[in-house]
């Protein structure tokens, strides 16, 4: 981990990875979405609206996954005072907020045909909304504190504290009886993980999900590289002003 | 006789916002001395004091408080800090304020005696909110004297004081120094003739 500590190494490595990430993201998402929209059958109950699932479920997964990523980056930043980890957490947040927003929007669009309403105050829906607020709050802390080191620490503390929301999202369906679907893509059956939806739907779904993950890392690397460049320019400018 | 604590700083620099207030500043305050931090407004006197108190992280450099040559583990409990703000609660009386400080920071002297030393006996049971500026400052200084830790960090201790108050404060500072205490004060005036001067800008 620490080998990639200095920005130089990170810039080299991410520069080499980026084309592959883009390629994988576009390829997987392209195939997955094509399969989802045209190749798979419509649901016998829900009709074509089921196709929203191929965006909704991956973005819901990404919303939690990115928060988890930020959590780890924040812990690394807090414990090892690693500036690159702070940058990673900071730059991941807006991407995570976008996926969360996508989950909320697709979910409520899906809700209208299936539940008859765009929004209900159900535990899972509310906890995703709360996760969205958490992203906003995290970004707000970065924006509110001018001193970068201070902002990084404050935001990291917030991120670590807020992580309890993730299990709540995961288990809310089981704890509270809600309208929302329980885990139905994969389930524990007889002590084994078993897929419970038809493979013709499962594969495209997984492809989009993996594609989204690659997309996330591609966007993250681009944002981090921009941030590093921006900070370099700032340093150069202050040095010039001081001279 | 208080435990002699030496304050040493090396290569200190301080950043506020994107400005460097001072760089590569060294200081050495030995027990039994008064060091005066001088410099124009905004040069970083208060910032330096807060840095010594551990309330502000130095951008670079090291700071140690050492007793008999051994660096201390818990510097916060060795010093008392009198800032620009008096840190008094307006809704509590002077005595209540001091009694709380005695509990929270520990104290070697009696609150009433401390107030008496600064001529505040008559106001001891008045809420601080009613105090005049000078009475407030006296109470804050009384707290410092009552807590009685070896290192005193004073930020303009005599501001708002009349001549009697100033005399009392200078007196107590002198006594603490004579007693082996370490006093570092930021000020725009001469507190005690012969104090070492540390210029921040």
């Amino acid at each position: 981990m620490l080998r990639f500590a200095n920005p130089k190494k990170f810039l080299d490595l991410s520069g080499a990875l980026l084309p592959w990430l883009w390629l994988g993201a576009i390829g997987l998402m392209g195939w997955g979405l094509y399969a989802a929209l045209f190749a798979t059958p419509a649901d016998y109950q829900q009709g074509d609206s089921v196709r929203i699932m191929y965006i909704h479920v991956p973005s819901a997964w990404m919303a939690s996954f990115i928060y988890g990523f930020m959590f780890i980056a924040s812990v690394v930043g807090l414990v090892w005072k690693h500036p690159l980890a702070d940058t990673a957490a900071k730059e991941a947040a807006p991407i995570g907020a976008c996926f969360t927003a996508a989950c909320l929007i697709t979910g409520s669009l899906w809700g209208k045909p299936t539940w008859g309403t765009y929004w209900i105050w159900d535990a899972r829906l509310t906890s995703v909304l709360v996760l969205f607020f958490l992203y906003l709050g995290y970004m707000g802390v970065w924006a509110a504190i001018e001193d970068r080191a201070k902002a990084a620490r404050a935001a990291a503390i917030l991120c670590v504290v807020g992580v309890i929301n993730i299990p709540i999202i995961r288990f809310s369906v089981e704890w509270w009886d809600t309208l929302h679907q329980g885990p139905s893509v994969v389930r524990f059956e007889n002590g084994k993980l078993a897929p419970s939806i038809d493979p013709s739907m499962l594969w495209p779904l997984l492809a989009v999900a993996v594609g989204c993950t690659l997309l996330f890392f591609a966007l993250l690397f681009v944002r981090m590289r921009t941030d590093i460049a921006r900070r370099r320019i700032r340093t150069l400018m202050t040095m010039k002003a001081a001279a | 006789m208080v435990a002699g604590v030496e304050v040493t700083g090396e290569g200190l620099s301080c950043r506020r916002g994107d400005r460097l207030l001072f760089t590569d500043l060294s200081l050495n305050a030995r027990p039994g001395t008064l060091t005066a931090i001088v410099g124009p407004n905004g040069s970083g006197k208060t910032s330096l004091l807060r840095m010594i108190a551990g309330l502000l992280k130095p951008e670079a450099g090291t700071l140690t408080l050492s007793t008999g040559g051994v660096a201390d583990e818990e510097p916060a409990t060795l010093l008392c800090y009198l800032g620009h703000h008096d840190a008094l609660k307006a809704q509590m009386t002077a005595r209540e304020n001091l009694e709380f400080a005695a509990r929270w920071q520990g104290a070697v002297r009696d609150p009433d005696e401390a107030l008496a030393r600064l001529g505040m006996t008559r106001q001891a049971d008045l809420p601080v909110g009613y105090f005049s500026a000078g009475q407030r400052r006296r109470t804050a200084f009384a707290r410092c004297w009552m807590v009685g830790r070896p290192v005193w960090l004073l930020d303009e201790p005599t501001s708002a004081l009349d001549s009697a108050g100033r005399a009392a404060v200078i007196d107590l500072i002198g006594a603490h120094v004579a007693d082996g205490g370490t006093v570092i004060a930021a000020t725009h005036e001469t507190l005690i003739a012969g104090a070492a001067e540390l210029r921040v800008a």
Binding site: G137, L158, N165 | A53, A87, Q91, M92, A101, Q105
Partner: protein, 221 residues
């Protein structure tokens, strides 16, 4: 220990002298319960079913709206510096202040809960559970809230941020707290909800002071 208690006492004293201490909290809750039936229109049975939810939400709001001053007054008048230079670590200062905050917001509500529930026409089966759940759960509002208050002390847009920050921490408590009461009213065992509330409470008892002190240290420097 004496230092710790001294700080709790000081904060209680200040809250008494400034706002009437727990009585302000009581007045607040009485206000809410007095206004609600008037606003909702006295559909009593409708009220009764929802009473536990209201009281829990009111508790969360009362805490939320008083949290932003938790460290701000101390930061403004220099007292925070003195708190940082005490004989105890800053963690204890945060804990003491959170306790004092709870004693003036959470506790009065807990004690008055049966009366308020009566006013809102809640079924009697829920009284004991309501009181107990508030006793166990409401400290979270002060303890976890202290983290938000410390993070936003002195910040621009602090107030807005504070609500965004603590809301995610408060929501589950409100849900489980109100859930416990409605379980009890409907004749179920509220045991699981109590366990959850207790766990969150204990968790925030540790996390609140630690994270709060870390956040305060950032602002001090």
């Amino acid at each position: 220990m004496s230092a710790f208690l001294a700080l709790v006492r000081r904060d209680l004293l200040l809250s008494f002298r400034i706002g009437g201490g727990p009585f302000l909290g009581l007045a607040f809750f009485l206000t809410v319960t007095a206004m609600l039936p008037l606003g909702v229109g006295a559909k009593l049975n409708l009220l009764g079913e929802a009473a536990a939810g209201f009281l829990w939400v009111a508790a969360a709001l009362a805490s939320l709206l008083s949290l932003d001053r938790l460290f701000q007054a101390d930061a403004e008048d220099g007292s925070l510096d003195q708190l940082a230079l005490g004989a105890l670590p800053l963690e204890f200062a945060v804990l003491a202040k959170a306790i004092a905050h709870w004693l003036t917001t959470g506790l009065p509500l807990t004690l008055a809960a049966p009366v308020l529930a009566l006013m809102l026409n809640m079924p009697e089966a829920g009284y004991a559970t309501l009181t107990l759940s508030l006793l166990i759960g409401s400290p979270v509002f002060s303890l976890a809230g202290a983290i938000g208050a410390a993070l936003t002390a002195g910040l621009r847009r602090g107030g807005l941020l504070l609500s965004l920050l603590v809301l995610p921490l408060f929501v589950p408590v409100v849900v489980f707290g109100a859930g416990a009461v409605s379980a009890a009213i409907n004749g179920f065992e509220p045991g699981a909800a109590f366990l959850f509330l207790g766990a969150v409470s204990l968790f925030s008892l540790v996390l609140g002071p630690v994270a709060g002190a870390a956040a305060l240290r950032i602002h001090l420097s």
